[in-house]
Amino acid sequence: MALKHETPLLDELEKGAFPSFVKEIKRAAETAENPDFAQDLLGQLELSYKEKVTHWKHGGIVGVRGYGAGVIGRYSDVPDRFPGVAHFHTIRVNMPAGFFYTTEALKTICDIWDKYGSGLTNMHGSTGDIILLGTKTENLEAAFAHLSSRGWDLGGSGSAVRTPSCCVGPARCEWACYDTLEATYQTTMRFQDELHRPMFPYKFKFKFAGCPVDCIASIARADMSVIGTWKGNIQINQDEVRNYASSGLDIQKEVVDLCPTECMTWDGNELKINDEDCNRCMHCLARMPKALKPGQERGATILLGSKAPIVTGALMSWVIVPFMKMEPPYEEFFELVERIWEFWDEHGKNRERIGELIERMGFPVFLREVGLEPHPAMVKEPRRDPFYFWTEEDIEK
């Protein structure tokens, strides 16, 4: 199908070496089953490029029956000029943990989306969902019926659990200290209700990283960040260390000197690690994957609270449990999560993330109420001011 709108500005972005999103939209405009979506998206987007302003209206409440989450309503503020995107809702489809697909499964989704939507997607959204980008209200139920009957469910949105996600972990990484994919899957299944039906003060995100490299950016972007780690000594294969050395790696300069805890020595023949001082930063392992492996007692550090800067500034997650075995059936983990949600439910204000709540009420109060013991790993440094609280039992009468 020929293009409906002139898009001189967007056309510029078809040029250049990097893959072009404009080409993608044009492709949908030219070939999709319902080309009007992409056609008018091009038109409206060109207008935004010209006027330097978005032409989407603040979302309305749309969704599928029985769910409060998973669809982002979206309407054009110039529907007369671009009727194809008068409605342009997004369906968030919960991706499989680890982002692996069979082509068959992918094609099924494409088929459904060609039929009921714009034929445009994001692979993937920032939280991890498959984003089916743009359809109208009346198509939502049908799309969902087809998706769910083929084994797909919706992802999160609104004040709900958001689609948990993870790094590739044990599927293809030698450093995974626990099974990130299984933890993601089980967490998603355990909290289906909380994911589909918003009932929290605000959103709650889980991200699972297999080790402190954190290839899923969990520490920056998840209310609960589960980061693999180990106890005990880094496993060293001295022969392989020497192999790295002889194949050109400057072990002193590129490994030992960059160890943040200064706990390594290398005499040209043997690499020694004082594991008591190692903080498991992963640098040395990343330099010599063939020679070094995480210790054998494996589990995860649980961190809480990260989020974007609104309202009081960005947070990264901080340690609340230094070490937890992360193994099925994950009961210890789920119970902790539920205790945290109870605390949040009881004290959280509307639109207050868990990290912001703890900051407002005090980390010590949180620990006491949720039943976690204070541990020096929870802080970078102790408080500097002398303004702390005592409870009745600390006071002599």
Binding site: F18, N94, E104, N139, M282
Partner: protein, 360 residues
């Protein structure tokens, strides 16, 4: 649509990932012993069992048509037994279980114009958000910025090496749906003027208390006379959070919306702990389709990093070592009042020390 719909299921969750793992992955799940980088877009992981998996990574615009997904499937069907994966930064990964399959795969990808790369000490794909393509809140476009910047920097994706990985991100507003707040170099759409209150709409569309509460600087107060709210203009720093809560307070302003650049963040724990990004450029104009001012500033920062950083130093580690005063000197970026923190933790960022480097 009077068609008959299949039986709808609810709360089934996503398919178990197990169904989607290529056989070599399934068989060696949890058994990987090590990996080696073989090229900008090629690596091999070796299992304790001796099995190997070769991964070829290609760039994606993230916004994909189903037609393009079908193309990808075709390649995966032909070379990878019908399996494919995406990375956490939206690249596409094709995996094969035998060395002989690598070259044909790579050749086909090259022939079809895919950009192979993103592995190792390079620039990988740019985490980004909806922008003018889908979001009401966007102060800039996301996909367009990514394209403009990556057209300039693509060599660092598919060939040239850097001191370390450089993670780029774009968020189209300060909600920061991209990983902007912890990225090596990132762009974020920002406003420069306060929202306008459409008083007649406030009553219907907005809840006054939550609108008042949404403001980080307490600039908003109720305006009982108008059954609306009012803004103390000099307290507003244009974050747009009130607009997220109350659609009757539009903040977009084509003349003054623009792009800020933040730098020096990271999330990995290697060497230094994760770091927040810090403001490098408070505002550059929205100049679509190619945002030349933004592209230029990003290049300056990257070039200074390349010139100054030591091997394995991330952007933030490099800046911490040389000092921020020096960062402004070597990039030639101007230091302005806006760089000086006056928000929640302002005090912690002021120079409470007599030591700094001379730069003028």
């Amino acid at each position: 649509m009077a068609e008959e719909l299949p039986e709808r299921q609810t709360d089934i969750g996503p398919p178990h990932y197990n169904k989607f793992l290529p056989p070599v992955i399934k068989d060696n799940y949890g058994k990987w012993a090590y990996h080696e980088e073989l090229g900008p877009g090629l690596m091999v992981h070796v299992s304790e069992t001796g099995a190997k998996v070769w991964t070829v990574r290609v760039a994606s615009p993230r916004l994909l048509s189903t037609a393009s997904i079908r193309d990808i499937c075709e390649i995966a069907d032909k070379h990878c037994g019908g399996y494919v994966r995406w990375t956490t930064r939206n690249n596409i990964e094709f995996m094969v279980d035998d060395e002989s399959k690598v070259e044909p795969l790579m050749n086909e990808l090259k022939d079809k114009g895919y950009m192979i790369g993103g592995i190792g000490r390079r620039i990988s794909n740019v985490v980004h958000t909806q922008g003018w393509v889908h979001c009401h809140s966007a102060a800039t476009d996301a996909s367009g910025l990514v394209k403009a910047v990556m057209d300039e920097l693509h060599e660092y994706f598919h060939s040239k090496e850097l001191p370390n990985k450089v993670r780029l991100a774009v968020a189209c507003c300060v909600n920061m749906c991209g990983a902007v707040h912890c990225s090596d170099i990132a762009m974020v759409g920002v406003h420069k003027t306060p929202p306008r209150i459409e008083h007649d709409k406030v009553k219907n569309l907005c809840e006054i208390p939550s609108t008042v509460a949404s403001c980080p600087t307490s600039a908003i107060s109720p305006d009982p006379a108008k059954k609306s709210v009012k803004i103390k203009l000099e307290k507003c720093m244009y974050c747009g959070n009130c607009y997220s809560v109350c659609p009757a307070m539009p903040i977009a302003d084509p003349k003054n919306d623009g792009v800020a650049i933040v730098v020096g963040g990271k999330v990995s724990n290697l060497r230094k702990p994760p770091m927040f990004s810090k403001l490098a450029v408070p505002w550059l104009p929205n100049n679509p389709p190619r945002w030349p001012e933004v592209v230029d500033a990003i290049k300056r920062i990257l070039d200074a990093y390349i010139a100054g950083a030591r091997k394995y130093e991330r952007v933030g580690e490099w800046i911490e070592r040389i000092g921020w005063e020096k960062f402004f000197k070597v990039t030639g970026l101007e230091f302005k009042l806006q760089h000086i923190d006056d928000f929640t933790f302002a005090r912690e960022t002021w120079r409470m020390q007599a030591t700094f480097k001379w730069t003028d």
